[in-house]
């Protein structure tokens, strides 16, 4: 390793060392901002109209996402708004994602919390806003009935007609 170090850098190292700590912290949050910027750019370029996301106001660490209900599901034609809260440790930890629009679903509770493995222990630094929203969209169509947050929804899932009526009623109440 030693032979790779440029001697001119070594002579400067004393001055660099002093600002090292402060620099590190600012560069951390800078890296998060940079990555979120990149994600925003690629989302805006994306031709997929069924999902979208945009920062909520000035704060780049808080986003509002929208997903359309998946085709051929009871949620088809419905549009859901979600909030995404990023921490400064993103993408090493998952953002906190919640439904803003009330959603009647086995894996979503009445407060909008979502039970999804990739947002918990299966999180990977590779996942981004787009893949999160796509996963939630997929979850709408294929709920995991075995570990429900909303037991009523899980029971009703078997009777699709009744379930759909409930979903539409809840959605209408919200939009009025």
């Amino acid at each position: 390793m030693a032979q790779n170090i440029n001697p001119s850098v070594q002579s400067q190292s004393g001055t660099i060392k002093q600002n090292d700590d402060s620099k590190k912290i600012s560069s951390d949050s800078h890296a998060v901002t940079k990555r979120l910027h990149k994600e925003l750019m690629s989302l805006m370029m994306s031709p997929d109209k069924s999902i979208s996301a945009f920062p909520d106001g000035e704060n780049l660490f808080s986003w509002i996402g929208t997903i359309m209900g998946p085709k051929d599901s009871v949620y088809e034609t419905l549009k859901f708004r979600l909030s995404l809260q990023f921490s400064s440790s993103y993408p090493y930890t998952a953002p906190v994602v919640k439904f803003i629009t009330p959603c009647f679903h086995p894996n979503v509770d009445t407060k909008g919390n979502i039970c999804l493995d990739i947002l918990k222990d299966k999180w990977s630094a590779l996942y981004d806003v787009r893949t999160i929203l796509l996963s939630i969209q997929a979850l709408l169509g294929v709920p995991n009935v075995d570990s429900p947050l909303n037991t009523i929804a899980a029971e009703k899932w078997q009777k699709q007609d009744e379930y759909k009526k409930h979903v539409l009623e809840m959605f209408k109440e919200e939009s009025n």
């Binding site: 390793m1 790779n4 170090i5 440029n6 001119s8 850098v9 400067q12 190292s13 660099i16 060392k17 090292d20 890296a31 940079k34 990555r35 990149k38 994600e39 750019m41 690629s42 370029m45 994306s46 031709p47 997929d48 440790s89 993408p91 090493y92 930890t93 222990d121 990977s124 630094a125 590779l126 981004d128 787009r130 893949t131």
Partner: protein, 192 residues
């Protein structure tokens, strides 16, 4: 990841304001090439690049932080293969001896492991000069040695070579040498 690449590519092309007809190996292609070397965590061109055993590219600081965040579940962010800090390979490009402060990369990126090529034809034994002197002590039980060599039930001994051949001559010669050595040894034992 692949999805993102495709999407930006397809939507990027119509908005390109460069109508020259055969610009296939200009900015767009270059951009695509750059994307191949993007870190899977920060989505930027990989700096202090390392490659996991499963072949996925990361900046060393990014991967290090990912492994630090979850010390008990060290998996590749891309394919979830098990990975570890010791088993990543650094990539040294031609222009990679950078001018930047190496302490930025705390902790230092693991160095590449370089094994010397095989020494070729050199005879490995009798290494007094380079390997040092080997010496061994042993206690033998003579009669049991006799048993082990005599009661050898495994495979039959190879048949002796035919009389007159080169091999026969050699065998005779060897057996004579060993006989004389044995006689000398016994004589030495008796005299000493």
């Amino acid at each position: 990841m692949s999805g993102i690449t495709e999407n930006t590519k397809t939507s990027g092309e119509p908005s390109k304001e460069n109508p020259s007809p055969n610009s296939s190996d200009t900015p767009d292609d270059e951009k695509k090439d750059d994307r191949m070397f993007e870190c899977n965590i920060c989505l930027d061109t990989a700096k202090d690049a390392v490659v996991s055993m499963c072949g996925h590219l990361f900046c060393w600081p990014c991967l290090h932080q990912w492994l630090e965040t979850r010390p008990n579940r060290q998996v590749c962010p891309v394919c979830k293969a098990s990975i570890s800090k010791e088993k990543v390979v650094p990539l040294y490009g031609r222009g990679s001896t950078k001018q930047e402060d190496p302490r930025e990369k705390v902790p230092p990126r693991p160095a590449g492991q370089r094994t010397e090529p095989e020494p070729g034809s050199a005879f490995p034994g009798f290494g007094f000069a380079d390997n040092g002197f080997h010496m061994s002590f042993g206690i033998g039980a003579f009669p049991f040695g006799f048993f082990t060599s005599t009661f050898n039930f495994g495979e039959a001994r190879p048949t002796p070579a035919a009389r007159g051949t080169q091999q026969h001559m050699e065998e005779q010669f060897l057996s004579k040498i060993f006989l004389w050595m044995a006689i000398l040894f016994v004589a030495w034992l008796l005299l000493a």
